[in-house]
């Protein structure tokens, strides 16, 4: 597996004495840690500061309260939980569907030989390098039209945003998954075929269970990507109850930076914790997926 080489760093910490030749390494690491920690410290501290505004913030914690957290859940104008729910629904639906559909395409490209395969692969490669939001003006006009016929998947709806995301993540996911599937030994499906399995059976009974961990990682990457997506979401979701966390928090803090700072910090922290936990616990696989190209060169 490609990623084992990367993660082996840090696995074995040797109890060597701190040599003077290594001093610069520690100084550099601590300097970067200070840089890294600074905003994280600020957001944690602000989230517990009862004044809740940027104006009275200080660098040293003076008071402690849960007020900012309470404000998130008791404010009609700030449907924080709805935003979180929208983000989770959107990101999970996109991750699951795009990986499910993408895996089938990747399987066909990786395991089958058919006319137009090479052309299809080249087209896929070309399409997946363009972020879908580059065509944002066209997407907007298109969805505006779709809205006139099918309001539930048109402009302003989560359903419409989902299908745009699905289209956008299809290329990347299919391409990424094809790389993974190529590395699953051919002998396995050949053996199954000799035992009389048809192509759909090979796919569902042999390949799918084998690829499940890889599919999960790809789905997770897709999930994180969608959770972070801002351009299309801000363009699409104008209704306050349809917003994702990204758009909701941006509009909330952007309107009155000073006053809403505390609840914003609390909201960010709350939404970040599950993602950071997920990321750190699965970092081995995520980093492997993200640095795919690096080692293959």
């Amino acid at each position: 597996m490609e990623f084992e080489t990367i993660t082996s760093i840090g696995e074995h910490v040797m109890k060597s004495p701190m040599k003077t030749g290594h001093l610069w390494r520690h100084i550099y690491a601590w300097a970067l840690i200070a840089f890294t920690i600074f905003p994280i410290y600020v957001v944690i501290q602000s989230s517990f500061d009862p004044s809740g505004s940027l104006a009275s913030s200080s660098l040293v914690p003076t008071r402690f309260s849960w007020k900012n957290y309470a404000a998130l859940f008791n404010n009609e104008a700030v449907p924080y939980l709805t935003w979180v729910k929208n983000s989770l629904v959107l990101a999970s639906a996109n991750a699951l569907i795009s990986v499910f559909v993408g895996a089938a395409s990747a399987f066909a490209f990786s395991r089958m030989r058919f006319r137009g395969r090479k052309l299809g692969l080249q087209a896929l490669l070309l399409v997946q390098v363009f972020p879908s939001f580059l065509a944002l003006a066209a997407i907007y006009v298109m969805m505006e039209r779709i809205y006139t016929v099918y309001p539930s998947i048109g402009l302003g709806s989560l359903g419409g945003l989902l299908i745009i995301y699905l289209g956008g993540s299809m290329g990347v996911n299919a391409w990424l998954l094809k790389g993974f599937i190529d590395s699953i030994p051919l002998e396995l499906d050949e053996a199954a075929r000799i035992d009389g399995a048809s192509t759909p059976q090979v796919y569902w009974l042999i390949f799918f269970p084998l690829a499940l961990p890889v599919l999960a990682v790809t789905a997770l990457l897709s999930f994180i990507g969608t959770f972070n997506e801002f351009v299309l979401a801000s363009l699409f979701l104008t209704d306050v109850n349809q917003r994702t966390v990204a758009v909701g928090l941006q509009q909330f803090v952007g309107a009155k930076f000073g006053q809403n700072w505390g609840p914003f910090a609390a909201g960010s922290l709350l939404a970040a914790i599950p993602l950071v936990t997920l990321f750190l616990s699965l970092q081995k696989y995520i980093i492997g997926g993200m640095t795919q190209g690096a080692i293959k060169g």
């Binding site: 074995h12 940027l54 089958m112 035992d195 059976q201 972070n228 700072w261 970040a272």
Partner: protein, 513 residues
């Protein structure tokens, strides 16, 4: 021994039938909805999808496409079609004032192409109904003549047919039923578009419920010559092939609204020709490149040095690592917003730390600087991870051989490891450049593209990159120019596409398919 049970025989067939039946039912109902709204292009796309699905899943010779069809359909409908749409829109005048079709624009022009008559004749009116049709009981303010105007005709009334109130205004008439208050409230907005014909080319145009004026159609469309004539001023307006009717003698005098019209790549030409468009575009174009190159170099430099520092088994390495990849784990839109708050002039944490009130976001240079710094914060962990991965991938034998030959650790790093490392990481550096070239979030959420000198008429801010500028061009608060935005999108497509193709050719991915 594996037994291939499941997904065979009748249950599998039934499942397949059910899924296809449901998707067919949904698509057919969508098809009819599109046809009912006269959206023929949309109906065509849906019909094509419907045919493809049914052909692919019922034919026996389409096995690969049974796997490919859903992905291909999504990709084509929501990625390829928008790109084609972008190409089309980029060739059109499509902006505020030119958003509708020519047919709709003509209707609006003729509807609004009316002028009060020479005497400014006004009427006091009562709005009501005659035989169930909307009608106005009108009293001429100058002559006191009274008549009933309907959408079909005008009937003068003789004095026994109506009664006047104390101001001399006709209030009731035979066969005329006044609108109730609720009906009147509903009719109020509809009245602004209604014109009651008075004969001889004159109309009664209600100005609210109580007053109306006599107007005449001043703009007349002549279909044969595709011109609009202003009968009162005697001027002629001709289709200027750019989406407007323009005065023949004075082409700068255009009739509003216009329509979206093919304009011969004027959007592209204007990017280089028209100083109003060219100025901000060039500024943004240059900064986009500077930003993308500088930020990749900074992130790579800091990340690589960290990878080298952590390449030896030093104490606390695991601890350092788990802290230092945090920026990569936290959702980036949040940290960007947090940094934006921290750079607040009055209360931000950065100024508290410095003890000065530096106005970070209102200075072009400082704003550019903090974009680079914050992006460094977000990006160095990724480069640390890929650099240390690549360092590990370099065979240890190379290092051993070099040190036996008498090379110092520094020489080994500079002469052997670095060139190899750069070769391994080149595709990722290019990909990172492409990503940052379109890094909407960092610019939009941190500085909003600003500072922008609006008083000096600037449309682009100091930190705007092409993608945020496209966003502002297409969806700005005052002037929206979708055609121009699409032209800029096309230029970005070409840059990103060319860069990626070059990178792929280098890495020979294309040959190994």
């Amino acid at each position: 021994m594996i037994r291939f049970a499941g997904f065979t025989g009748t249950p599998a067939l039934l499942l397949k039938m059910a899924v296809i039946a449901i998707s067919d039912a949904i698509l057919v109902s969508m098809l009819f909805a599109a046809l009912a709204k006269d959206q023929n292009a949309m109906a065509g796309v849906i019909a094509a999808i419907l045919l493809i699905i049914n052909f692919v899943y019922f034919s026996k010779r389409t096995m690969p496409f049974k796997f490919l069809a859903p992905g291909i359909i999504l990709l084509i409908t929501f990625v390829v079609v928008p790109v084609i749409y972008t190409v089309l829109m980029s060739g059109f005048t499509y902006q505020t004032g030119n958003e509708i079709s020519k047919k709709d624009a003509l209707i609006q022009l003729i509807d609004s192409g009316i002028t009060a008559d020479a005497e400014n004749t006004s009427f006091d009116t009562v709005i009501g109904k005659v035989d169930g049709n909307l009608a106005a009981l009108a009293t001429n303010q100058t002559t006191g003549e009274v008549g009933i105007a309907t959408e079909k005709s005008y009937t003068p009334l003789s004095s026994e047919q109506f009664t006047r109130n104390e101001y001399g205004v006709a209030e009731t008439a035979n066969g005329f039923v006044r609108l109730s208050d609720t009906e009147a409230a509903d009719a109020d907005s509809a009245l602004s578009t209604i014109k009651f014909p008075l004969g001889n080319g004159y109309f009664l145009s209600p100005q609210g419920l109580d007053v109306a004026v006599r107007v005449t159609q001043s703009l007349v469309y002549d279909e044969a010559s595709d011109t609009i004539k202003n009968l009162i001023e005697g001027t002629t307006f001709k289709d200027n092939n750019r989406g407007n009717f323009a005065n023949i003698e004075n082409p700068d005098q255009k009739l509003e609204p216009g329509w979206r019209a093919y304009n011969n790549f004027e959007n592209y030409l204007n990017l280089f020709r028209d100083p109003v468009v060219r100025g901000p575009f060039l500024k943004v174009f240059v900064w986009t490149f500077i930003f993308a190159i500088t930020t990749v170099i900074m992130m790579f430099g800091v990340g690589l040095l960290l990878a080298i520092a952590m390449d030896k088994k030093i104490r606390f390495r695991r601890f350092y690592r788990s802290i230092l990849i945090l920026p990569y784990a936290i959702p980036s839109f949040m940290t960007i917003l947090i940094w934006a708050g921290m750079f607040n002039r009055q209360y931000g944490a950065v100024n508290l730390l410095l003890g000065h009130q530096v106005d970070w976001l209102n200075s072009a240079i400082l704003a550019k600087l903090i974009i680079l710094v914050v992006n460094l914060w977000l990006g160095f962990p990724y480069f640390y991870l890929i650099s240390s991965g690549a360092l590990q991938a370099i065979p240890a034998e190379l290092e051993e051989a070099a040190s036996i030959d008498g090379a110092s650790p520094r020489q080994i790093m500079q002469r052997i490891k670095m060139p190899l490392l750069l070769q391994i990481l080149a595709p990722l550096l290019i990909a990172s450049f492409a990503f940052n070239f379109n890094n909407f979030n960092i610019v939009y959420l941190l500085t909003g593209g600003g500072p922008t000198n609006v008083l000096a008429g600037e449309t682009a801010g100091a930190t705007d990159i092409l993608i945020t500028y496209t966003y502002k061009t297409a969806f700005g608060s005052t002037q929206q120019n979708l055609g121009l935005a699409c032209a800029i999108s096309m230029i970005m497509f070409i840059i990103v596409g060319a860069l990626s193709m070059w990178s792929l050719r280098r890495s020979r991915v294309l040959e190994n398919m």
